[in-house]
Amino acid sequence: MSPAPRPALTTTAALQSALAAEHAAVYGYGVVGANLSGSRQAAAMTDWVAHQVARDTLEAMLRSRGAQPVAAAVAYQLPVTVRTPGQAASLAVLLEDRVATAYLRLVALSSPSIRRFGALQVRAAALRAAFWRGSTVAFPGLPASALAAPRRSEP
């Protein structure tokens, strides 16, 4: 692991990045829930709480490293207009995809325990995203640019 420059700072930055995504998700799920009713609203509430728990976990991890956790913004520019239940579900998918991508950065760090924590959070986000999307994807959290075009034939 010696070639890794300032691993502590790298880990802190990745944790802060995940925390920022969780702050955005906590804010966003408020909007998601406000545009839903019945069991869908209850599901949004459950996910909202899950993001609050994850946020608190990340803040504790950062504090234990001696870092000051990034604060939530007062308001967030939502990536989509939300006026209907369908749009609310789309926002939830977007929030989960961003959270998953942020946690995948933790999986690239060298600490096995942080890798595992990141991977479990990617899984949790993927499960929530699949619920709101109504279908699954092959590579949760991985941007298309990160996927190699498969080779056509084996040698």
Binding site: R105, R123, V137, S145, L147, P155
Partner: protein, 180 residues
Amino acid sequence: MAAHPTRRVVLAVAATLPLAAASGCDGVDVLAAPPRPALDVALLRSAITAEELMAARYANVLKGVRNPGGTSAALAAALEPVLAEHQAHLAQLRSRLIVPAGAAPSPSERAPAQPPVPTAPAAAVTFLRAAEQAAAAAMLERLPHAPASLAQLFASISASEATHVPVLDAVLLDTRRAGG
């Protein structure tokens, strides 16, 4: 990339993901560990073998479903997208492995095994559900020793496999409702 003279198979580390910031914090170097090709290749091969097995299981269940007397088109329609995702995992994993021309094929590159699967629809879906859970867990066990970009791919695939479990739960409900 250059291969060690005695090493026939190497990782396509060129495929490292430029997983730049999701939210701020650009320029963080996420590549922590130097590559250790021999171990990396073994990890990648085991992941490829595991995904081949999953794809073969789905293919075999689907084969049974499509037989005359086999269950519904609905079951096949539900399982086919999941099989497609396993095939996508497999293609992505294989793309990370560079096998020079003339290298002896590994077991996983020979004819894939034909794993036995239950024939009754409900039993088959229950079997696939357990297999997904085991595969997702096994993929996580590969994380500690994988290079960064491969670890990210493993984590993403593991998460994908975890999302197949609720899909199979829904299929199982439908199957039981249909009397399967």
